[in-house]
C-alpha cells in the first residue's frame, strides 16, 4: 500500500505529513469547529493510483484540496513533487479535476482548453497538439467547438479531465471523475487512467464508484470522520468468502460427518453454508462432499467486493 507505510521504495511524488484540518467559521465558537481531517499521513510514489474512499463528510475532498493547495492545513505539511502544495513549482506538475467542474459558458471546449493550456504556460502549438491528443482519447471531437453552456454532465466531466491533463501533469488529482459518465465513458476513463499509470503519472482519486476503483488499483485509503481506517484485514477476509451448497437432502448429517464445525456457518437439510479461507479450496470441498455421499444440486461462492466491505464498515460505524 502507498499509504501510511514505510515500504514505499519509490520517491514520494505526493507527501502528506500529519495533516490536520479544522473548518471554523469566522467569529464562531470552538464548539462549532469541524475537524475534517485528523493526523493524516500519505505518501504516493510515481505511477501509483491511490483511491480515497469513505462516506460523505469523511474528508476525501478536503484531502484532495490540501494536496491541490486550495486550502491550508492547521497542522502538518503537504508536498507535491518535493515543493509546498501551493507553490508555483508544485502546480507545474499538477492536474486537478474538481467534483463539479465549471467553465465560462460562452467559451467552446476548444477555447477552454486553450485558456487552461495558456495558464499552464504552454505555447500555442503545444496546446493545439495536446488538444488533438486529448480530444481523440476522450472522444470529444463532436463537441469541441460547441459552447460549454450547452454541455451535459458527461461532456463537462470529459472536458474537466482534459483540462487537468492539458499540461501532461506528473500528479493527477481526480474528485469523483466518473460522475455523469455513461458506461462507455466510464470504460474509456478507466482505460485512460491505466495508460496514464503505465506512463508514470501518479493519480489520487476520490470516488464513490468503488467497483471502478477496484478495477484501477489495490491501493485504497478508507476515510471515516477525518481519519484513516485500516481495513486491509477486512479486504483480505472479503477475498475469501462463503460457500453455499444446495443439497437434495441430509444436509445436517453430511455436515456432521464431513466438515469441521468451525467451518460450518449454517446448515439445513437442503443447504450448507461453509466459510472458505481461499477460493482455491472450493473444488476440493465439493469433491470431498460428493465422495462422502452428498447429492449436490448447486454451488455458489459468495465473496464481498470492496463496495460490500465499504457498506458494511460504514454500517458498523467502525
Amino acid at each position: 500500500m502507498a499509504m501510511n507505510n514505510n515500504d514505499n521504495k519509490q520517491a514520494a511524488v505526493v507527501e502528506c505529513k500529519q495533516l490536520t484540518k479544522i473548518y471554523k467559521k469566522l467569529l464562531a465558537g470552538k464548539s462549532k469547529a469541524v475537524c475534517a481531517l485528523q493526523d493524516i499521513s500519505l505518501s504516493v510514489g510515481r505511477g501509483q493510483i491511490v483511491g480515497l474512499i469513505g462516506p460523505n463528510g469523511a474528508g476525501k475532498s478536503t484531502l484532495l484540496n490540501l494536496i491541490a493547495g486550495l486550502i491550508f492545513p492547521n497542522e502538518g505539511s503537504v508536498a507535491v513533487c518535493g515543493h509546498p502544495a501551493r507553490s508555483i513549482e508544485a502546480h507545474k506538475g499538477l492536474g486537478y479535476m474538481p467534483e463539479h467542474p465549471v467553465f465560462l459558458g460562452r467559451y467552446t471546449a476548444r477555447d477552454v482548453l486553450r485558456y487552461h493550456g495558456a495558464l499552464s504556460g504552454m505555447s500555442r502549438q503545444t496546446i493545439s497538439s495536446q488538444t488533438d491528443k486529448l480530444t481523440e482519447k476522450l472522444q470529444m471531437d463532436e463537441y469541441l467547438d460547441r459552447r460549454c453552456m450547452d454541455f451535459s454532465q458527461g461532456m463537462k466531466q470529459r472536458l474537466a479531465l482534459s483540462i487537468a491533463m492539458i499540461n501532461d501533469p506528473k500528479v493527477l488529482l481526480l474528485d469523483e471523475p466518473s460522475n455523469g459518465l455513461d458506461p462507455i465513458g466510464i470504460i474509456q476513463l478507466r482505460n485512460f487512467l491505466k495508460e496514464l499509470r503505465a506512463a508514470g503519472t501518479t493519480i489520487v482519486i476520490s470516488s464513490h464508484r468503488l467497483g471502478e476503483l477496484e478495477q484501477l488499483t489495490s491501493d485504497y485509503m478508507f476515510m471515516y470522520r477525518g481519519q484513516v481506517v485500516s481495513f486491509a484485514d477486512e479486504l483480505a477476509c472479503a477475498h475469501a468468502g462463503r460457500l453455499r451448497i444446495e443439497l437434495v437432502s441430509n444436509g445436517k448429517a453430511i455436515a456432521e460427518k464431513l466438515l469441521p464445525p468451525s467451518k460450518v456457518l449454517s446448515v439445513s437439510d437442503t443447504e450448507l453454508q461453509i466459510a472458505v479461507g481461499d477460493p482455491e479450496e472450493v473444488p476440493d470441498i465439493v469433491i470431498d462432499l460428493a465422495k462422502g455421499g452428498a447429492r449436490i444440486m448447486g454451488v455458489l461462492l459468495e465473496r464481498e467486493n470492496i463496495e460490500d466491505v465499504f457498506v458494511r464498515l460504514c454500517h458498523e460505524g467502525t
Binding site: 484540496n65 474538481p98 465560462l104 485558456y115 495558464l119
Partner: protein
C-alpha cells in the same frame, strides 16, 4: 499567451459586459440630447456616471462569481502567481474603460460638430480624470470581490460610499462651528477613492494656487494623478495579498 488569455477572459466573462457599455453610451447621448450641456458639465456627468458606476458594473463578481461557482479552484492550481491573475483582470477591465472613454470622447465630439452646442474645452481632462477614478474604483471593487460573495463587492462599495458621504455631509453641517472635521475630511480625501481631488483637478480648480498651464496647476494636477495611481496600487496590493492567502473550497467530503 497567458496574459492575453487572462485579459481576453474579462471581455467574455459575462454576457452583460457588452450590454453595460452600450447602455452607458446610449445614456451619454440621452444626457447630451436632453440637457444640451456645456463641456465641463457633461464631463462632470461622465466623471461620476462612468468613473464611479461603470467599474462597479464591470467588476461585479469578478472574483466572487468564480469563487462561488468553484471555477477558481482549477485556476489557482495552474502554475501562475495570484498577482498575475489579479492584475490581468484589472488590466482587462481597464482596457475596456480606455476604449470606452475614447469612444465617449469621439461620440461627444461628433455630437458637438453636428449640433454645434456645448463646449469641448475641458472634456479631455474630465475623461482622463474619469479614467483615473475608474481604475481606482475598479481595483477597490476587484479586491473586495476576493472576500465578499458574488456581486456584492460593487453593491457594498455603492452603499458604503453613499452612506459615508451622507454622514459626512450631516457631520460637516452640524459640526462646522463646534469641532474640527479635518481628520475626517483628510481620510475621505486621501484614503478614499479620490472623487474630490480628481474632480477639482479636472475642473481646473487648482489653477488659482500655483504654476498654471491654462486653468490647470501643474504641480497639483500631477500630485492628483500620482495620488490616484498610488491608491490604485495600494488597493490592488491588498487584493493580491488576499487572493494569495485565501482558501478555496466548496465541499468538505
Amino acid at each position: 499567451m497567458r496574459k492575453y488569455e487572462l485579459i481576453r477572459e474579462t471581455f467574455c466573462r459575462r454576457g452583460f459586459i457588452w450590454i453595460v457599455h452600450v447602455v452607458w453610451l446610449v445614456l451619454y447621448g440621452g444626457f447630451w440630447w436632453l440637457f444640451l450641456p456645456n463641456g465641463p458639465e457633461f464631463g462632470r456627468f461622465v466623471f461620476i456616471w462612468s468613473g464611479f458606476f461603470l467599474p462597479l458594473a464591470l467588476t461585479a463578481g469578478i472574483f466572487g462569481d468564480d469563487i462561488a461557482s468553484g471555477r477558481i479552484c482549477v485556476l489557482v492550481t495552474k502554475p501562475l502567481w495570484a498577482g498575475e491573475l489579479y492584475i490581468c483582470r484589472v488590466l482587462g477591465v481597464t482596457l475596456q474603460a480606455t476604449a470606452h472613454f475614447i469612444l465617449t470622447g469621439c461620440i461627444v465630439l461628433i455630437l458637438h460638430l453636428i449640433m454645434r452646442k456645448g463646449s469641448m474645452e475641458y472634456l479631455g481632462t474630465w475623461l482622463f480624470a474619469s479614467w483615473l477614478l475608474f481604475i481606482t474604483v475598479a481595483a477597490l471593487s476587484t479586491s473586495l470581490s476576493v472576500v465578499v460573495g458574488r456581486t456584492f463587492n460593487s453593491l457594498l462599495i455603492l452603499v458604503v460610499v453613499v452612506t459615508v458621504y451622507f454622514i459626512l455631509g450631516l457631520l460637516m453641517s452640524s459640526m462646522r462651528q463646534k469641532a474640527d472635521t479635518g481628520v475626517l475630511t483628510a481620510f475621505i480625501r486621501y484614503a478614499w477613492p479620490p472623487f474630490e481631488l480628481l474632480s477639482k483637478f479636472a475642473g481646473g480648480e487648482y489653477g488659482k494656487y500655483s504654476l498654471i498651464v491654462g486653468r490647470f496647476s501643474v504641480s497639483k494636477s500631477v500630485a492628483c494623478v500620482v495620488h490616484s495611481l498610488f491608491l490604485t496600487v495600494v488597493y490592488s496590493l491588498i487584493g493580491i495579498i488576499l487572493l494569495g492567502k485565501r482558501q478555496f473550497s466548496r465541499q468538505r467530503d
